[in-house]
């Protein structure tokens, strides 16, 4: 796409370099970002939306917005959290638009990631327990926990995305945390 770079070197460069070039309009660099962060963003959106065919559409919209707004990214090294904020917003647009048709209790829990590579057995068991605890949460609680703990959103950003007062968001989060901690304790 660009004439100067075989791309493989860029694929090994850190975010500051890659995002810096993308800010400057280098499409090959933007492609590296798409490749680099699609799995993480997909996994995150799946956690927010539950099992959903919309995941790839949400990512696509997020990347288009990201390209348009790259010049607003002050610190290229922070591109990862910046992308997470954009995709959070796009995912929550989806939640809002489908909310009326959705049976909140009927949402399928996220697919359990059973292809976990070998790692400490305790961590794996802990991840499975956390996964199970999350799957038990009502949708709004799960979303608030995921937006905060995985997406890294502030309470104010979450309030805007969830269209709720900050106090309500904090209440949802507290309930989510309590539920998860109790379940994790039982597992221990």
């Amino acid at each position: 796409m660009t004439d100067e770079e075989p791309g493989s070197r860029l694929a090994g460069a850190d975010d500051r370099i890659v995002a810096g070039r993308a800010i400057d309009g280098d499409i090959a660099a933007f492609e590296v970002l798409v490749r680099r962060y699609t799995p993480m963003m997909r996994a995150y959106v799946r956690r927010v939306l539950g099992a959903s065919a919309d995941v790839d559409d949400v990512l696509q919209e997020a990347f288009v917005i990201a390209w348009q707004r790259l010049s607003e990214l002050e610190d290229p090294a922070a591109v990862k959290s910046w992308l997470m904020r954009i995709v959070s917003r796009k995912a929550m647009d989806r939640v809002r638009s489908r909310r009326p048709q959705v049976d909140i209790d009927g949402i399928e829990p996220p697919a359990s990631p059973d292809t976990t590579p070998a790692r400490a057995a305790e961590t794996r068991a802990g991840v499975e327990a956390l996964n199970a605890a999350l799957a038990e949460l009502p949708e709004a609680q799960r979303q608030s926990w995921v937006l905060r703990e995985i997406g890294g959103l502030t309470y104010e950003e979450m309030a805007a995305e969830l269209a709720m007062p900050v106090t309500t968001v904090r209440g949802l989060l507290a309930r989510a945390r309590k539920h998860i901690m109790v379940r994790m304790e039982e597992w221990r």
Partner: protein, 200 residues
Amino acid sequence: MTEDGRLPLGLEPDDLDGHTIEELTDYLDAGRTPADASIDASPGCALALDAMERLRALTPALMASDEAAEPAPEPGWIQSILSGIAMDARSGRRIPLADPDDGSDLAITEGAVRGLIRAAENVFPGILIGRCRLDGDVTVRGAEIGVEVDVSVPFGEPIVQLAERLRSEIAVRLARHTRLAVTGIDITVHDISTWTEDKR
């Protein structure tokens, strides 16, 4: 379901010497500073804070496991994104090339000049150029322009000499292809770390 049974880990104010989960979360988020004697002295709070920290430690592992379960993005899908974005979105300012009095209207875009600067990296194996800024009013012919370039240098290379040679290379290219009155080329080498495909 927690309200009736007394669990060893209590998360209600009665179990937390009057504190709430919200308070404890904020306390943890603030790095337990300033120290709160009433929280620190409470065995119930200590239990809850431990549980919170264990959960926090596990969250990145959950994400890593989710991410590892995702297939690599398909080339066709990536292409559909790239073809959907406006290629000229970041062409930047229009930089005049010709003399004002010869009547022609030749110009180059800022984006093209950045491409020109980036291409200088090809002369130096391992060097990668990141962001480039042209400081000054490039749309006015003869205006003084400072160039700032972000660079990564391979580990073990002599940074000062490499930066000097890269600076000359960029200067030559700019002089050959533009009429910019470049007053200086600042090269910033931040670090030499590379991004690796995860600790999967």
